[in-house]
């Protein structure tokens, strides 16, 4: 598969983060050096601070983590949501650690370390990171092994034995299909919900009051009717309009407040 059309590289400490734009998708992936996500970044920071993973100095690590995020912001990089979630988690743990813990008569194990869940996740992630490393090694070795080349069989032989008449025959079929296709009339896509809402808003602004029954009658298809109904619900919720009804089963009027 061909990808990576452009690569912008810049330095971050010793790591080299870079933006990889893939041609196949609209997405732009930001690869921060060797970081594959918040857990990876956290592991890196813990190693950099030479901290013990089972006793993370959460304040220090959280600071480093936020520093990193601020740096990314200053570089005007849109942060991935996942990174922010982790930042919030770190701050939450940090604040929990600051709170005095209730000293009960129960055993020490009864008191949950606020870092516990994060440590478990980090350890599990680290295992899979090593597994990924193992897969990488295996695939590298495997790329040095070649099975025999392909043998020509009916299945993979794309060459066909046809005469000029066969080709002509197929060509005529294609032509026939072509004219058929032209005859297909494409109906205009029905109104979208936002169009419908816009439409309804304009009507209300113009008339101040709108008989809903009449409004619904204008609709030409079931889909439009459904859209109109949703538009009414939406507009009552978001705009300063109200629904009026004099008596049960009476006419419903949409009115500007």
């Amino acid at each position: 598969m061909e990808q990576s059309t452009e690569q912008l590289t810049f330095d971050f400490f010793t790591e080299k983060p870079h933006i990889v734009a893939t041609s196949s998708t609209d997405e732009i992936n930001l690869e921060l050096g060797a970081f594959a996500g918040p857990l990876d970044l956290l592991l890196f920071l813990i190693k950099q601070e030479q901290a013990n993973i089972f006793d993370i100095p959460i304040a220090r690590i959280a600071n480093e983590y936020l520093k990193y995020i601020r740096l990314m912001k200053s570089l005007d990089i849109a942060l991935a949501g996942d990174l922010l979630v982790m930042a919030a988690t770190l701050i939450e743990i940090k604040s929990k650690m600051l709170l005095p813990r209730e000293i009960s008569d129960e055993t020490e194990e009864g008191i949950e370390d606020p870092r516990r869940e994060l440590v478990d996740r980090l350890l599990e992630y680290e295992r899979f990171k090593s597994a990924a490393q193992m897969l990488y090694t295996r695939s590298t070795i495997e790329q040095a092994v070649f099975p025999r080349g392909q043998i020509e069989t009916d299945e993979n032989n794309t060459e066909v034995n046809v005469s000029v008449f066969d080709l002509l025959n197929v060509f005529q079929k294609i032509i026939a299909r072509q004219t058929e296709e032209i005859q297909i009339e494409i109906q205009r896509e029905e109104m979208s919900l936002s169009e419908m809402i816009k439409n309804l808003k304009r009507r209300i602004l113009q008339t101040k009051q709108l008989n809903l029954l009449e409004f619904f009658r204008e609709m030409q298809s079931k889909t439009e009717l459904v859209l109109a109904f949703i538009a009414v619900l939406e507009i009552v919720r978001t705009e300063s309009v109200k629904l009026l009804q004099d008596k049960t089963f009476g006419v419903i009027i949409l009115s500007k407040v």
Binding site: T25, E31, L39, F128, Y136
Partner: protein, 203 residues
């Protein structure tokens, strides 16, 4: 040939006798002959050839095929030539030895295919060990949305969809494919080192 000759001459063409001579013909294969036939079949097969398929095609007992393959495998090892016979993805395959990769690439004028990204490899690792794994389960372990990595793996046919999980949101489940075993040189999934072992490796 001798056997066929006998069928021709056995006057009576009744089924029983015919079967008899066919069995006789089958039995006539010596183990050395079987080793050669199996080698030829493995050579022409596009995919690793399983013992079951060999047994079906050759109408032999699996145990006999197994011992013939072991014999063949021994021959390859002893010869230590440019080819190797190895067990991969639940079958047997003849391939070149790793040490000649540079010369082979020079001849084929190919380069190693694009490596998977770190994200794709991590996602693949999670799927390989947790299969069938869902997107939320992968997110839980990796801490990152892995949608594009999953797409890459599906495109490369390393993973396959395995139906939906009957839970909230009915997320799609993924598992590794046969291509995964082939590309990573695995006999089967049990050949993957246990995930718990990686802990000792790290700490």
């Amino acid at each position: 040939m001798k056997n066929k000759f006998r069928i021709y001459h056995s006057e009576s063409l009744c089924g029983e006798k015919f079967m008899d001579s066919e069995i006789e013909e089958k039995k006539a294969r010596s183990i050395a002959e079987l080793v050669s036939i199996i080698e030829a079949l493995i050579f022409v097969a596009d995919e690793p050839l399983s013992i079951k398929i060999l047994a079906d095609v050759l109408e032999e007992e699996k145990e006999i095929i197994q011992s013939a393959i072991e014999e063949l495998s021994k021959e390859y090892e002893e010869r230590d030539g440019g080819l190797q016979l190895r067990e991969i993805a639940g079958g047997w395959q003849i391939s070149t030895r790793t040490k000649f990769h540079a010369e082979i690439r020079a001849f084929l004028k190919t380069r190693p295919s694009a490596k998977l990204s770190l994200a794709a490899l991590e996602t693949l690792a999670v799927i390989a060990y947790k299969q069938p794994a869902t997107v939320p389960e992968i997110l839980e372990i990796r801490g990152v949305q892995s949608a594009s990595a999953i797409k890459t793996l599906l495109d490369k046919r390393l993973i396959v969809a395995r139906g939906r999980k009957e839970t909230v949101g009915r997320p799609m489940q993924y598992g590794t494919s046969k291509d995964f075993l082939i590309q990573f040189g695995l006999k089967d999934l049990s050949e993957l080192p246990s995930i718990e072992d990686f802990e000792d490796l790290v700490h």
